[in-house]
Symmetry: C2
Subunit: 324 residues, 2 copies
DNA sequence: TTGAAAGCGCTAACAT
DNA sequence: ATGTTAGCGCTTTCAA
């Protein structure tokens, strides 16, 4: 019941393991009949070439790592889905690790991937606070997704150019008569968080709005964070509209909006971030900032398919404001 | 720039590679100072033990395969998420392959996993039609999820006992006055599909309903399939309620229901399958058959953690009818 | 046309 | 306490 190897096949057939190796590689230097016989026997025995041995010999292992905070949020799920499909097409193995935006978990995952000699890692970098060390990925090709770690600006990144869309969202709300617009978004330790907030502020300024400080809420981007800030803002009655800057946050805010809308007649406008399919189905359609998942995943797949030497170039894809 | 190995460290330090090996394993048989020196140098050089070499030596590779039709449907996403978390905790690598319910893709994925010596595979088996061969997984431990392939009834399976809940769903609709209830579900080539349909039929019979054949729709369980059958049923006006038997189907049916509800005042009752979080948010809450994802994933994680020898026992978890 | 040897990184089993 | 050898599965190089 042990593994079928070229040696065991060779033994079985009473020939050398090299002949088996050549026969399985369809080498013309082995007798036609022997070749056929070997291939037949290999099939019968259920022989599978050991990728492990090949890697030991020096073949680049076809392994891609994917590090995500979670895989339930539809943005991450879609990205993982598209990456998995692309990897299947490129006969790469996709190894997924969850970080929950935790640095320790992230580093552990990176270590594991190094152990198996993963060639590339696509990761949503976890947030670092001050003195914590930068993630270490050894010789693996790293592609940062959505966010960029401050200390690794040399590594390739796939970012979302969401500034214009966020700006437009604010303008849209202002044009609709909203004077008090709140922003709930990811903390500004990462460039993406800062950029989103800045886009919001610029939009407000352009619309001639004065945004109270209490209406700017940033923090670790989680469902719970979005939900609690949204509840707080709604209950305080200090804003008539909210703009989100983060996938999880957006869902959290949405849940708060829906819950509160059952109690009061007071409507609060809300523009989400990310575009899970159900945003079209909820509450007569949720307006949102749509992030180009497919493009991101396609580009990521191309980058992990690059040869060992080639270096991947960063890229940025535009987000779109979807009004419903 | 090449990989740091025990040999390269040994060279660097002018000692034998075995001393390095022992030092890194914290063996007491090596001088305390040497041990410390080696460990320090290894850290400096960024040494990572090669999992590949360990597997070559005979260590069981800590690799788990996960084969899903897709990873976007929230049930699969949640399962993958929980499995990934569990695997991280058990220091296993989780390799995900998408099958799209296609047999060829499924077999390719299985072959890849055999190549890397995956110890276990958790898979939602793709549907087979008649003469197609059974999936071949070599010596890997196979755990079938949700559905069970007819020809592999010996392999372990994690199933959902949804009969009672489906039955209850029909009863509930009948009690609410519905006389014409449609069923849209997975095809009956797999036991799960048959079971669901049977549960529906038994429920209808118990309620004294005579279900027209045109109201029973089964087929390959996809979003599009559910959507088109639902549209057709709604437009024909032959039913006042629908029950779903499949995750993707359920979302497809829901999309049709929502689309049609914008045009007519005629309400059609609908009981979904699976419980993505947004079912609570859509259309004042969608009633559904809730499948115990967490329990399934937990059990799956336990099964893949078993030693090579131990065999995993099948299990079944009860689904619940959630009324909203 | 076939076979034998060597080596990828690692450790158990023997030397020393 | 440290070093040497051998072997896991495979292919490249060299020999017959």
């Amino acid at each position: 019941m042990s593994r079928v190897t070229i040696k065991s096949i060779a033994n079985d057939l009473g020939i050398s393991h090299m002949t088996v190796s050549r026969a399985l590689a369809n080498s013309p230097k082995v007798q036609k009949e022997t070749r056929a016989a070997v291939q037949k026997r290999a099939r019968e025995l259920g022989y599978v070439k050991s990728a492990v041995a090949m890697v030991m010999r020096g073949d680049a292992p076809k392994i891609v790592g994917l590090l995500l905070p979670n895989i339930v949020n539809e943005f991450y799920a879609r990205f993982a889905n598209d990456m998995a499909a692309a990897c299947d097409a490129q006969s790469q193995q996709l190894i997924i690790h969850l970080t929950n935006d935790d640095l320790t978990a992230q580093q552990q995952a990176l270590d594991r991937l190094q152990e198996v000699q993963a060639a590339s890692v696509v990761m949503v970098p976890a947030l670092r606070h001050g003195n914590e060390g930068a993630p270490f990925a050894g010789t693996m090709r790293v592609i940062e997704l959505i966010r960029q770690d401050n200390d690794t600006e040399s590594t390739a990144a796939l970012l979302v150019d969401d500034g214009p869309a966020i700006n437009e969202a604010v303008t849209h709300l202002a044009n609709a008569g909203h004077k008090d617009i709140a922003y709930i978004g990811a903390n500004h330790e990462l460039s993406s968080g800062r950029n989103r907030l800045n886009a919001f502020l610029r939009g407000a300024e352009a619309a001639g709005l004065n945004v109270a400080e209490s209406l700017i809420r940033t923090g670790v981007p989680t469902f719970a964070m979005g939900r609690s800030h949204a509840k707080n803002i709604i209950d305080s009655g200090t804003a008539t509209a909210m703009v989100c800057g983060g996938f999880e946050i957006s869902n959290g805010v949405l849940s708060a909006v829906l819950e509160r809308s059952n109690r009061t007649t007071q409507e609060i406008a809300f523009i989400g971030y990310g575009d899970p399919s159900f945003y079209d189905w909820v509450d007569n359609g949720v307006s949102t900032i749509q992030v180009p998942v497919t493009e991101l995943a396609e580009r990521a797949a191309k980058m992990v398919a690059l040869e060992a030497g080639e270096s991947a170039a960063s890229a940025s894809f535009a987000a779109r404001l979807i009004l419903r």
